[in-house]
Amino acid sequence: MEQEGAERSTTIVASTSEGSSLDPIARVRKLLFRQMLVGIKDGRFFLGNFHCIDKQGNILLQDAVEYRSIRRSSPSPTEQRCLGIILIPASCRTSCHVDCSIEEQLSLIQLKE
């Protein structure tokens, strides 16, 4: 399992090292099937496999889990729930993160510039 993960990360590094020359669509395509963490306006987070995105920025996550805090006041325990496939409209999305290696993150930051 661990070996598999390592292999995957190396392939990603390989692909992203030349990544800066790729257009954004191709880069997003590389993020498919990765673990994605999406935060929405009402404070909930959804963790799931990145499945699809459309022009409007609506995201589909597969095998998603919802995390919500039990209380309104900020430091509070969370509650989680499995939801399966979900659609997160772009309008309510406030943050979006993808699970990747440190090297990869660096290349992503380069990308932004």
Binding site: L32, L37, D42, H51, K55, R72, T94, E104
Partner: protein, 719 residues
């Protein structure tokens, strides 16, 4: 914006599912928006496994109809409690506290009735924070014990319904996933409630007592602070508490094995009904402050006082049941909830009053009679659990014994029979039949149609075995050792055929109750009923002959043998009733057919399906079970295409004559008597109608169920 998302990403690192050591959460929003702006209209970024159909079923976040996780009033129960939504005590003013508790009690009653009418517990009873978290109220004996008893009652009902499995269609009833149900603690609620009741009783006595006596009772604190309201508030609380107490007792008694607690349960039910009456009467006092302008508001309210209760939030549990939020429901009003309980209690009383005779005819007739009032799930589940316990009738007699009894046979000596494969199968068929008869009418009809096939296959198999055995036995070498197994099997074989026809008749008759037949189809329905009734009457008559024969022989053998003449009379009467119905069905078939042949009554011709197709749609299940054995549609169209009026008189007159005879026999049974009187009136009115129609062919005729729910009366009108 950037800083906010960065902060969030740092907080995410505490999430339980962060990835391995070397990986981090990379912020990708800018990349996504860049990609989106590059995308063409309608283009998607997706992998190979993308499937539009599956994607369409995705749950849309922040859609109020799909996303149950959306934050509504409160994030959680704890937050609701912390925000003071359900305080304990409800108010520091004890008068207000007591009044609020009465409102909670009333609203809970409405919630329970709504639940029992087919909604989920989570949205009804458990929308009450005091019920969800009873441990919070332990300092407040009244509220605490009441909520505990409510929970115990819910538990008892869930257990009855899930044991009976009558909830196939009402599957929300038993859904308790995620709800706190702690049996032991709740069971103690009743003890506590008793103590509370006693205290309030004393407080009531104290406030009524004259001043001289009051001194003796002085150490007793009054219920609340306003002496003018004391008596009425005490009374309002007492009737509500007592209702709860007796209801739970009644339900517990009804669950005792073999119907041993029914008598006691009946007493509790009587108390319940009386207390419910007092609850209803307390509304005058309770609503005196709130309703000044009209009664309209009262009809809709879920409490007697008309105030909104404290501590209820139906959205609290909405994430428990499914990923999508449950539909919003409308609670029954308090008045309707009381009506529901009155009906339920009367139905339960009916069950408790049943004499538990080990007689199948009596059982079947009771169940049919019971279903006439359209009882709700809870009552039907109780009846079913009473009838079938441990695979035996009332948990006492095997169905072999019961069958044999209905043939006046004794099976106690023939031990081997219990293990006979046919008898085992029959046992299962009977259990299924009784369970189905306790289901709601639409479901019942569907299932009856389906089990007819099982019964007829069973009948054929049994016929083969019994026939085979009979052939062997006719050879003279069979020893006479008193083993009557074969004789009994042979009789049971005949009885099974009678039973099949009974089921078929019930199937047809339920069609009227469910309004499945259109007036243009009455002709074929009555024709089919006639065929089935005729055969059923014949089989039942055979059984009477068998019974009389065996009883006579027994009486001859032993002089002290007392024949059960009452039962013989009862079955004979039943046969006569069947014959009366046969004549009526025949009369109606011929009459409608004649009207159709003369063009006075519409033939069943619609633009969509032909008469033979309708015939199959209605009776396909009966024909599959070979009832009758010949081609029914052919026979039906042949027998009705040349019909004319003359034989109608005879049929109706026969029916009338028989009804008169039966009436004498049923003089002591008001339910039966009413039915027979109905049949008699149908016959009488139809004779008159036929007379009029013969004289004047221009009359208009329609068929209505004025006198009997299943046998139509012809109504004749000019123009």
């Amino acid at each position: 914006m950037q800083s906010v998302t960065e902060e969030e990403s740092s907080s995410i690192d505490h999430e339980p599912r962060t990835s391995g050591d070397n990986s981090v959460w990379a912020h990708v929003s800018p990349l996504l928006s860049a990609a989106c702006s590059d995308l063409q209209e309608g283009e998607l970024i997706h992998g190979d496994n993308f499937n539009l159909f599956a994607a369409m079923s995705a749950l849309e976040i922040m859609d109020p109809k799909m996303d149950s996780g959306m934050v509504s009033t409160f994030y959680s129960i704890d937050e609701a409690i912390e925000s003071g939504f359900a305080p304990v005590p409800i108010s520091s003013d004890r008068t207000v506290d007591v009044q609020s508790i009465i409102d909670i009690m009333d609203h809970l009653l409405a919630c329970e009735a709504t639940w029992q009418m087919g909604h989920s517990l989570a949205q009804t009873v458990f929308s009450c924070i005091y019920v969800l978290r009873p441990e919070r109220t332990s300092s407040h004996a009244l509220l605490h014990s009441f909520c505990r008893v409510v929970r115990a009652t819910c538990r008892a009902l869930v257990s009855v319904v899930s044991d009976a499995r009558t909830n196939e269609e009402e599957d929300l009833f038993t859904m308790t996933y995620g709800l706190p149900f702690s049996g032991d603690e709740d069971a103690k609620g009743l003890l506590l409630l008793n103590a509370v009741e006693e205290t309030i009783c004393r407080q009531l006595r104290a406030c009524k007592a004259t001043s001289s006596k009051r001194r003796m009772l002085e150490e007793l604190e009054p219920l609340q602070t306003n002496p003018q309201l004391e008596e009425s508030l005490c009374k309002a609380l007492l009737c509500r508490i007592r209702f709860r107490k007796h209801l739970l007792h009644a339900l517990n008694c009804m669950r005792r094995p073999q119907g041993r607690g029914l008598e006691l349960a009946r007493k509790h039910i009587a108390y319940c009904i009386a207390e419910l009456d007092s609850v209803l009467n307390s509304v005058e006092f309770l609503s005196s402050e709130t309703f000044e302008n009209g009664k309209n508001e009262m009809e809709e309210s879920t409490t007697g006082s008309g105030r909104n209760p404290i501590g209820f939030e139906p959205t609290l549990n909405k994430r428990l049941s499914a990923p999508t939020p449950p539909r919003a429901i409308k609670l029954l009003s308090w008045k309707k909830a009381i009506d529901y309980y009155v009906k339920l209690l009367h139905n339960l009383d009916q069950i408790c009053a049943f004499k538990l005779e080990p007689d199948l005819d009596a059982v079947l007739q009771f169940v049919v009679q019971f279903q006439k009032s359209r009882p709700d799930l809870v009552a039907r589940a109780h009846l079913q659990l009473l009838l079938v316990q441990d695979g035996k009738l009332y948990g006492r007699d095997t169905f072999l014994t019961i069958c044999a009894r209905s043939l006046a046979l004794d099976v106690t000596k023939n031990h081997g029979l219990h293990l006979n494969e046919h008898i085992l199968q029959l046992n299962q068929l009977m259990i299924n039949l009784l369970k189905i008869l306790c289901a709601n009418t639409p479901w019942q009809r569907r299932k009856l149609g389906k089990i007819l096939n099982d019964w007829s296959i069973f009948n054929v198999q049994m016929g083969i075995t019994v026939g085979h055995m009979m052939q062997q036995v006719t050879k003279p070498r069979t020893p006479k050792n008193g083993d009557k197994s074969l004789l009994i099997l042979n009789h049971i074989y005949g009885w099974v055929e009678e039973q099949i026809h009974w089921v078929a008749l019930r199937f047809l008759v339920l069609g009227f109750d469910l309004e499945l037949y259109s007036p243009s189809e009455y002709c074929m329905v009555y024709w089919y009923m006639y065929i089935i009734l005729w055969k059923l009457a014949e089989k039942a008559h055979m059984r009477v002959l068998i019974i009389v024969h065996t009883e006579e022989r027994k009486a001859k053998k032993r002089e002290d043998y007392s024949r059960d003449l009452a039962r013989e009379d009862r079955i004979s009467l039943w046969v006569l009733l069947l014959k009366c119905q046969t004549s009526l069905a025949q009369g109606l078939t011929v009459m409608i057919a004649a009207l159709r042949n003369e063009g006075m009554c519409l033939k069943s011709q619609g633009p969509f399906n032909t008469e033979s197709e309708k015939f199959i749609q209605h009776f396909g299940l009966l024909q599959k079970a070979s009832l009758p054995k010949y081609d029914a549609y052919e026979s039906f169209s042949e027998s009705t295409c040349h019909a004319f009026y003359l034989p109608v008189y005879e049929c109706f007159r026969d029916a009338q004559k028989m009804a008169k005879e039966i009436k004498v026999g049923y003089a002591n049974d008001p339910d039966k008597l009413a039915e027979v009187v109905g049949l008699e009136q149908v016959a009488e009115h139809n004779i008159i109608a036929v007379n009029l129609l013969c004289q004047d062919r221009s009359l208009k005729v329609s068929f209505e169920f004025i006198h009997h729910p299943h046998f139509a009366t012809a109504v004749v009108r000019r123009s």
